[in-house]
Structures are given as structure tokens and as C-alpha cells.
Symmetry: C2
Subunit: 654 residues, 2 copies
């Protein structure tokens, strides 16, 4: 039975119109997308599609990675909604044409496999990312259909879906397997949403339910696959391609890395590779949304709480283990080692969005905005052309020679061997409108605050609404309803906000927050205006004392924005700095700094450098200093140097 | 020209008679040595020697590692000086006989190579540890000669030396190479010392001078070797055996890992694999000792200062990088990650001993005793049958699932795949007498304080001396001269000691410390007694603020002993504990704890655990607690748990 859930607004019905997120959408259109398309073209990823479509293109020694074409297809579709660009649209349509030309008759479409191993199919689900790639192609094509109405793209996506339905399932002759990297689950649900065809939902159900199952007469698929490949080929197929294999191995034993150690509905604690995990949990949530399955829902809830209670870094990302990009043990949150991959934060954001739709609660939105502002945005430089894969909370460049720091960087890269994050950010930025406001039967749930114009598909009929705000720079949000209708406007009150007020047509309206949302139920008239004022003084944040590495330390936030100190403002050896608990945090608008930011200053103490032996009889002298913090999302946009989020706090007046 | 240096006392002329170090010698004789010999026997290491000697022994699938037989040979020889044991002596003589039987006519003796690759020799110096093994066999055999007068052992060691002289050198037809793991340098110098034969010294000179050299017509040996092996065998030889290869590779580029990136006399900063480094620097110091070469001496001095100024952990060990067991960058001293291998501390101790002989200075002795008491002893459990390879300053077992913690253990192992440390500790403990007192022409330099009876080979003739002390448990050292002679008694005044006094035959004698030694020059009469009283209240120690990870923290020491907190005494989550600067450190003798130790207590504060979200608006409440510290060398002898050396210090009265 389908569960009653909040509806997403169609992309065409929710357009960002101002504020910081829209600035990033502009950056997407103007910088990120052209740059990334150019990289894919130069790298040969598009040539590989041309070759798969039958065209003769020059051979390259390094064929490029077409894996991320799917994500860029998606981002391009969204970008064309944001700004008309006939040349880009032609290029996109040409690409869709090439993909349809390349697609096999049964729907299979994976240019790199078609070019390099045309006769192999689904031989190494454990490591090949084969369906992960198919999933991203599907999502990209479906975005072209959703955003631009491109029927050819829909046909092409359907073909892939049909191919999967034909190859996978419990019926005799089908493969009872699933991909080592979940993603196709999200694509199948999206295809079901676009077509209404049950078979795609059933295919999703199969992938969710089959994962991690085994029994006496039904070996674990990954065991079976590896055994089959050893017998058939004398070695693992494709598995040996992974340069990470040695590092991952310790975690492979029971396939926890792949979320395949238990059947989905038995999962309770988030574990394994962080991106794989969040994507699979999204698939579980999608299925729960469609089926109303309470057991699956309970698993999703428990997994979410696991993240929230012990595994999310303060910048809203996850994956404490730097070597296997994996979710660590609860409360093990080393600020200088955690992986905090940009894609993992995107995965958490997408999972939170689904949980929000399933059972609206401000806690989901709170976490989503932390991930969005403090990791997704931090993943891109202010020029849109440099990217972070990992987003640690502390970087001491002097130590980066160490092998345990191999994933940590003090400078964003221009591109990477594994360029999964940049196009993932691009597509997420492109579709932000989808996440801002959700619709109940007769309710509008405002989850993310941004300049926005949208149309709510209420039961009583469409209602247009406008939101104007400079959030998260300022805490004032003005919402104007443009049509008459009786409905409840629900506004998320972030848990970090201690004081807020709601005004209706200029008059203060009493309202209490319930499950993180304040509600205004009334018959709205065109022009009615609600204003939410969230107080957002900069504040100190502390971790649960079980978080070993963060004990006795404090970080600074302002609204949803996390702050950090950079060497550029504070000199070297940031670990020398202490923050007295009595120091006042002061904010300053700096128009010309880092694209315009509020900086925060506080009087701090710093251990002075004094010549002497390595170990000494007395503590160093302290000097007063002005600590200056900038929003974390803007770090590493100046000269390379140290960065630090948490500072030891001195308690005065003991 | 031979440099005038302090003389070592022959082993037979310096016997430990009491105190803590002698307790460890008893542990060596009673527990460590029988246990380790049994392990080598069980593991098949001795069988491999029997097989090499021509005996038929059962084949084993896992042939054991005979590499460490050399070290145990050495330890056994010393043990037989400490306590007569006819059965053990027979066993040792039998082993020496087997080795001589196994030795090839040209002197080559390496049972594992002889058994597994009889026709290969010196093919992969980069990775094979082949000469490292030969070196340890030589040292073991020479110890049997030095301690027991076994001429067969000397013959056998000479044979190995002759083999090396024949194979290596700059002459045409000889190999211009050197081992990837230095050690043979020390053995050659020892062989030179036992025989007086110049050719062994020349061979040492070759190995020291040739290392790291390259030029247009003289490629770097390791480059040449790898190229030759690829051409000859199509792959690296033996190199692929290293399970660490992948981790090391980043540091191999210029052979810095192997101290072969520069010629020895150009070395200034200690770098590379910590054990390899210290062993090679020992070889350099040995050569400098013999040749009076000032340039080489300057290099040694600079390398030592490099360690002392930025790379030694507070427990006297080195090697900050956990993955390649390597020396890190200065001031990068992560307490929870540093490798601090037991063998590396031994290497540093041996290097310090040579520097002390070359240019006597208390700083060398200070560092030697830190390494000895806080790493070498910590490397062994109180039962003598469990060992640490790594000696970090902080262990949080909850985090040990992480791959970057793969080398960190919270419990000593019974044995290990790479059992280099236990027999290395065994041999060092066995020869401690060698390091306590050094002899000048007419001077006695007391460098380590321990119960001791020794005979000084002064120019004027032998002088017997007795030392009685419970150091480092107590700071009182009584030295009695038993023969008449005019000479200067020099006593090391540790830099940590703020107050000390010297008494001669019961009367206070004014004396100043110069270069870390107080001097008493007089005509000594039999029975004359000097007493040194070192005040050793427990004290706080602080690191240079450039040591990023140790900022704002303090550790506790008492005399040369480092202290730590264990979970057994202080509960879990030691990172929650703060130490106010005003807290008094109190010491308590606990006879029944950990073999009898002074414990230290102090009133501390601890963040209380309170339910709540992972990140919070306010800091945790603090509770008072009694922090209890035990000597670091005794940690991990009770139930497994956390351990921590450094604690954040709160400054009160700001």
C-alpha cells in the first residue's frame, strides 16, 4: 500500500530566484558546467560515446571516464531550465541521439563496457560499478525528460530499465545479483515515477530485497560471483582494477563495505562505504515510500538516527575512515583524518530528503542544510573550477607527507582520477528547487530557505508562492502567497535557532514549533505575506564528550554555516590557539572577502613560540590574539595553508 | 687517524648487581630467553639451520624466520655470562657447530637463502635483508666469542666477514652495492674490534662511503640493481615479497627510506625508515670513531640533533609515520599514530652510546635512558612473554578498526610475523653492562645508573668500582672505589634534574655539572665512597608549541620515567580528562602493583557524559576526579583498555 508522503514539486514548478543558493546555480551555469563538459570532452569521455554510437573517432591511450557523463547529462538538463542556451541544448540533444544510437537493441547502454568488453555483461557486479553507471545514465536521461520533455531520452532510459528487468530477478535464468555500488535503485524509482510502470518498481524491490541475502541453497551473490569468476576466468574479473583493493580488503570480509552483509530490512546501524550506504538507504526509503512497508521504514529511521547520533561530522558529511571512504564507529570523528566525501554528503542530503517526505520532521531538514552549506558548497571553489573530494575539519599541511593523510588535501584539485564529486555537485545544485518546498495534500512544507518561486500542487488546486530571503546570510524569510486557498504553511525552525518570530501581514503571530516546523493554517489571500525571523547570532558548538577527538573543544557556527580559521587570517600553527569561554564572538560583514561573507572574530590566546628543547619543564607563554573565522564553505580559496574548525576552549571563572 | 674516544668495558668487566635493570636481566634469563628460544624452535627457525647443516629434518609448510636467530645467539651468549646454565651452553655450542657446518666454504652463511635459493646471492640488496641477516649472525657469533671465548664462533663470524670483503668493494668484479637494511656495518666494526684486521674496517668504510652515491658513469646501485633484475628475471627479485611494498612506495622514489638518497657525509637530517636510519648512523659513527673523520662526525652530530630537536617521541622512540615505520617531519609527533618501534629506540640508544663515546655529553645519556626505560622496557610485558612492536603515546581501542591504526595495538602480542623486536630487546638487556660506565684514559664516565660491579681499564691500571642504587625508582647512587688510583669520576647529571648533591665519604662536595657531567678528581683510596643524590619529584613536561598535536597538553615524568594513565585506573574516554596546572602531583609507592612502582595521582577534571545530541549548544559539565598515573613501561599489563600520556592542562588563575 502506497504510503502517504509529501510530494516533490516538479522542477518546472520551483525555480530559485535569489539568495546564496541561486548564486551557486549561476556559478553552475556559468563556470562549473562549461568547465566540466570541457574536461569530459578533452578526457575522451564523449568520444567514447561517439565510438559506441558507431562513429570513427581518434583512438586515445587514455580513454577517459564516461561514468560521470550521466551526472553531467543530468546537470545540463537542469541548467537549461535555469537559463536558455540553444547551443548547449543542441549539444545535449546530440548527445542523447548518440546514446540512443549506441544503445543495444535490448536496452543495454554502457559505452565503456561496449567499447572495451562488448561480450561481457554483469560479470563482476561486486567491483565493476556497471549498474552504478547504468543508473547514472538513466537518471541523466530522465532529467532530460523531466526538465525538457525530451521523449527520446525517456525512451533511452526505459530501454536501460527494460534491460535490467530482463536480466535481474528471482525468476529462473535471471541473475539474482545486485551492484557493488548502489545507485541504480534511485534511477529505477525515478523511471517508475516518470512512466508509472510497475515493473520498474518491482525491479527496485528486487534489488533492495535481494541484497545481502544468503542461505544454504542460495549462496551470497558476491561469494557466488567471485567463485564463478575464479572458475571461469582463473581470477577475479575487474576486481583487480581497483587501486584501492588492498586498503579495502579488511572491510570486505562480510561485504559490510557494500551494505550486503545483511538483508536490507535487518540493517540498523549505518556501515560500509559512505556513498554506497547513503545511496542504498535512499533506495530503501524510495521502496518504503511506495509500499508503506513499516519494517523497511523502521530500518531507514534507525539508519538515519545512527548517522545523526554518532557518525556525522560537524560539516554535515560522513565517512570517518579515510582509507575505505567508509562510515566508522560511532563517536570516532577525527577532524584531521575523516574522509567526509562530498558525494557522501550529497547522499546524506538525498536520504534526508526522502526521510523528510516519509515522515516530516525538522531534524531531517536541519541535517540536509548542514550537508548542503558546509560540504556540498565547500566541495567547490568560489571560481567553480576546483574541487574537494574530502572535506576534513582540520588540515595541517606540514603533516600531509604521511601515508595516513593520503586523502587529505589543502588545495582543491582541478580534476581527479576519480572525478565523481564535481558532476554530482553540479546535478545537485541544478535541482535545488526540488528540495526547498514539499507539498502535502493541503500543506506547504518549507524545508530549505532560499529565494524561490513555486507552484504547490495542493488538493484544492495549484497555489503559487514566492519566497524572498538572503538566508543563510540573514535569518529573515518572506513568503508571499499569490493565490487564494485554505492550507497550512509549515516553516522549518532549525534546532540551532533559540529565538524566532513569525509575522503575518506585518503582525506578530503566535506559533509553536512542532517536530521542527511552525504552522500557519488559514485561508490565504493573494498577497498575504508571512515573515519568519530566525535569530542567528554566531554561537559555539560542542560535541558529545564521547567524541574522543573533540573533547574540550568548541567550534563556531552562525545559522547553518560552520566556521573555520585559516592560516591566511591567523598565522601558522593553529593548534596553538585557545578560545576562552568568555570571549565574545563578533560578526562583521565583509563585502569584498570570499564573495561576501560574515566573518567572526574573538579574542583568543595563542601559545608563543620560544626557542628551547623539544620537551620542556614549563608551559609556553600565551599571547592575546584576534582569532578570525570564515565560513567553512569558503576555505581554501586563498593561499594554501592550515585550516581548523575546533579550538580548545579555556573556561575562565572556575 | 683514530679518534680518542671513551672505551667500552668488556662484558666480563661490567656486571649488573642490582636495581631495576638487573631485574630485567633476570627476566631475560628466566622468561624471555627460554620463551623466545622455544618460539624459534617451534617456528622451525632452528630446523632450517639444521637443514642447512645437512641434517634431515621434517619439512614444514611455514619454514619460520631464521633472521632473528642471530640476535638470540647474541642474547644467549650474554645470558650465559649473567647465569651459568650448562644445558643452555651446550645448546648454544651445538648451534654454533651447526652454523659452521652450514657455512659455505667462502664464508657465506644464511640458512634461509641457502635452503630456498642456494644459487642466488646478493641479487636484491634493496629489499632482501640479506646482509642485514648476515650482520646479525656475525654479531651473534662475535658475542659468543666475546662473552664465552668461543673460537669456533669467531672463525665462523670471520668467514662471513671474509665473504663480504670478497664480494663487495670498488675493485673490478666486486659488487658496488650495499644492503637495503643497514646492520652489517655494526657487525663489521665489531669483527674488526675482535680481530684487529684492517680489511673488515675497510669493508665497513666501503659500505658507509658507497651508500647513496651515483654519477653519470656510476648509476645509483639500487637503480642499477632493479634494472638488472627486470632485464634478467623480468621482475623485481624478492622485492615483491614485501607485504608493505604498496605503503612504502611513496617514500622509495629517491631511496630516502633506505638512507641512500645522499652519500653519508652529506646527510644532515634524519630521514627514512627509523631502524635502518639509526643502524646506518651507528655505522657512520663507528667509522668516524676509527678514522677521526671530522666531516663524518659533523654529519653524525647533525643527525643526532635532528632527532633530538624534532623527531623523538617523549618515550624516547622515533618513527612518526605508522605506515613506513619512518622518521617523519620535525614536530609532527601524533601521539596516537606514531610508530615508535621498539627496535628504533634500540637503534637510537646504540647511536647515542656511540656519540657519547665520541664526544661525551650528558645529553646523549639523557636520551639513551629515556629510550631504554620508556620504550625498550615498555616493549616487553612484565611476564617477559608479550611484546610491543609499536609504542604509541595514546591508544583508544575503539578507533583501532581504522586502517590508519593498523600498526597500533592495545595489547602486546605473543609473537608476530615480523618478530624483530623481542630478540633485539633480549640482546640489549643482556649487554646493558656495556653501556653503564665508559672509561677515559684516567676517567670513569658513569652514564647509566644501576647496581654494577666493574673494572675500569685506566691507563694507570685496572680499578674496580661498585655502584649501588635503586635508580630510576630512587635518585640515590652510591659508588665505591675498590682500588687506589688518581682519576676523575664523572657522573651524569640528567637535564631533568633541578637539584642534586654530591657527597664524598659522607661529606657534601661542591661540584658543577659541565656538559651534563659532574666531576670528582682525586686520588681514590680503596673504600672511598661517592654518593650522588638526584632529586626526582614527579614533574610536568611540555612540548615545543611547534609540536602541533601536543599543544596545550602536559605529560608527567619522574626522573627518567614517563607516566601514563590507563583505563584500568581512570575509567573510559581518557580524552575527557583535564589536568589543572594547580593540581599537586603526589607519588605513592605501590609494592604490589605492576611489580612495584611509584604511582602518581593528581586532582583532575573530567567532562561528564550527558545524554543529548551529537553536537550541542553548551559544554559538558565537569566533575572532579583523582587521576592516577603509572610508569609508561608498565602499561598494558592489566586488562586491555585506553592509555594516554598527554593531558590538556587547564591554567587557573589567569
Amino acid at each position: 500500500m502506497k504510503r502517504e508522503v509529501l510530494k516533490e514539486l516538479p522542477l518546472s514548478a520551483a525555480a530559485l530566484t535569489g539568495g546564496m543558493l541561486q548564486e551557486y546555480q549561476q556559478l553552475l551555469v556559468e563556470e562549473m558546467l562549461p568547465y566540466q563538459i570541457e574536461i569530459l570532452e578533452q578526457g575522451g569521455a564523449l568520444d567514447m560515446i561517439r565510438r559506441a554510437a558507431g562513429y570513427r573517432v581518434p583512438e586515445r591511450t587514455e580513454p577517459g571516464r564516461p561514468t560521470d557523463v550521466g551526472k553531467l547529462l543530468e546537470a545540463t538538463a537542469y541548467a537549461l531550465l535555469l537559463r536558455e542556451d540553444p547551443a548547449l541544448k543542441r549539444k545535449l540533444e546530440e548527445l542523447i541521439g548518440l546514446l540512443e544510437q549506441a544503445q543495444y537493441a535490448d536496452g543495454y547502454l554502457h559505452p565503456i563496457m561496449q567499447a572495451s568488453r562488448p561480450s561481457d555483461r554483469f560479470l563482476s557486479l561486486l567491483m565493476s560499478h556497471e549498474m552504478y553507471t547504468l543508473g547514472h545514465y538513466m537518471e541523466g536521461l530522465l532529467a532530460c525528460y523531466e526538465a525538457l520533455g525530451n521523449e527520446q531520452a525517456l525512451r533511452c532510459a526505459r530501454g536501460i530499465g527494460d534491460c535490467l528487468c530482463q536480466w535481474f530477478g528471482t525468476e529462473p535464468g535471471k541473475i539474482r545479483g545486485y551492484d557493488g555500488h548502489p545507485e541504480v535503485e534511485l534511477a529505477l524509482y525515478r523511471l517508475y515515477g516518470c512512466t508509472g510502470e510497475k515493473k520498474y518498481l518491482e525491479c527496485l524491490r528486487f534489488f533492495v530485497e535481494e541484497r545481502g541475502r544468503s542461505g544454504p541453497e542460495h549462496p551470497h551473490y558476491f561469494d557466488w560471483e567471485q567463485q564463478r569468476n575464479r572458475e571461469k576466468f582463473g581470477k577475479p574479473v575487474l576486481g583487480e582494477l581497483s587501486r584501492w583493493a588492498d586498503r579495502h580488503r579488511p572491510y570486505w570480509g562480510n561485504y559490510e563495505y557494500f551494505q550486503a552483509h545483511l538483508p536490507a530490512r535487518q540493517l540498523r546501524e549505518p556501515t560500509g562505504h559512505a556513498v554506497r550506504a547513503t545511496y542504498f538507504y535512499c533506495g530503501m526509503a524510495d521502496l518504503a515510500m511506495e509500499t508503506g512497508d513499516e519494517e523497511l521504514m523502521e530500518a531507514c529511521r534507525s539508519l538515519w538516527q545512527g548517522f545523526e547520533q554518532g557518525n556525522v561530522a560537524l560539516n554535515g558529511s560522513i565517512g570517518q575512515d579515510g582509507f575505505w571512504e567508509g562510515i566508522g564507529r560511532a563517536y570516532d570523528l577525527p577532524p584531521d583524518y575523516s574522509y567526509n566525501e562530498t558525494c557522501a554528503a550529497i547522499g546524506l542530503f538525498l536520504f534526508g530528503h526522502r526521510m523528510m517526505r516519509l515522515e516530516p520532521d525538522g531534524a531531517y531538514g536541519d541535517q540536509m542544510e548542514l550537508s548542503l552549506y558546509n560540504t556540498v558548497l565547500a566541495g567547490t571553489s568560489l571560481d567553480g573550477r576546483h574541487y574537494f573530494y574530502c572535506n576534513p575539519l582540520e588540515v595541517w599541511p606540514h603533516s600531509l607527507y604521511r601515508y595516513d593523510k593520503i586523502h587529505i588535501q589543502a588545495r582543491r584539485y582541478e580534476w581527479d582520477d576519480c572525478p565523481c564529486c564535481p558532476p554530482n555537485e553540479a546535478r545537485l545544485l541544478g535541482e535545488l528547487g526540488r528540495f526547498a518546498v514539499l507539498s502535502g495534500r493541503q500543506e506547504a512544507w518549507v524545508n530549505l530557505y532560499t529565494g524561490l518561486r513555486c507552484t504547490l500542487p495542493l488538493d484544492s488546486g495549484p497555489v503559487r508562492m514566492e519566497m524572498v530571503t538572503e538566508y543563510p546570510r540573514e535569518g529573515r524569510i518572506r513568503i508571499t502567497v499569490l493565490d487564494s486557498a485554505r492550507f497550512t504553511l509549515r516553516l522549518r525552525i532549525p534546532a540551532w535557532c533559540r529565538e524566532w518570530r513569525l509575522l503575518l501581514n506585518g503582525e506578530r503571530t503566535p506559533a509553536a514549533a512542532e517536530k521542527g516546523f511552525a504552522a500557519l493554517e488559514r485561508s490565504w489571500q493573494p498577497g498575504d505575506c508571512a515573515v519568519l525571523e530566525l535569530e542567528m547570532p554566531c554561537r559555539r558548538v560542542y560535541a558529545d564528550p564521547r567524541a574522543y577527538h573533540l573533547a574540550h573543544q568548541t567550534a563556531v557556527m552562525r545559522g547553518p554555516l560552520l566556521y573555520c580559521a585559516e592560516q591566511a587570517d591567523n598565522g601558522e600553527l593553529l593548534s596553538r590557539i585557545l578560545l576562552p569561554d568568555s570571549s565574545v564572538l563578533e560578526e562583521h560583514w565583509e563585502e569584498d572577502l570570499l564573495g561576501g561573507v560574515y566573518t567572526v572574530t574573538a579574542e583568543a590566546r595563542r601559545a608563543m613560540l620560544q626557542e628551547g628543547p623539544l620537551y620542556r619543564a614549563g608551559p609556553p607563554a600565551w599571547e592575546k590574539m584576534q582569532l578570525k573565522l570564515v565560513p567553512y564553505y569558503t576555505w581554501a580559496n586563498r593561499e594554501e595553508g592550515e585550516m581548523r574548525v575546533f579550538f580548545p576552549e579555556i573556561r575562565t571563572g572556575l
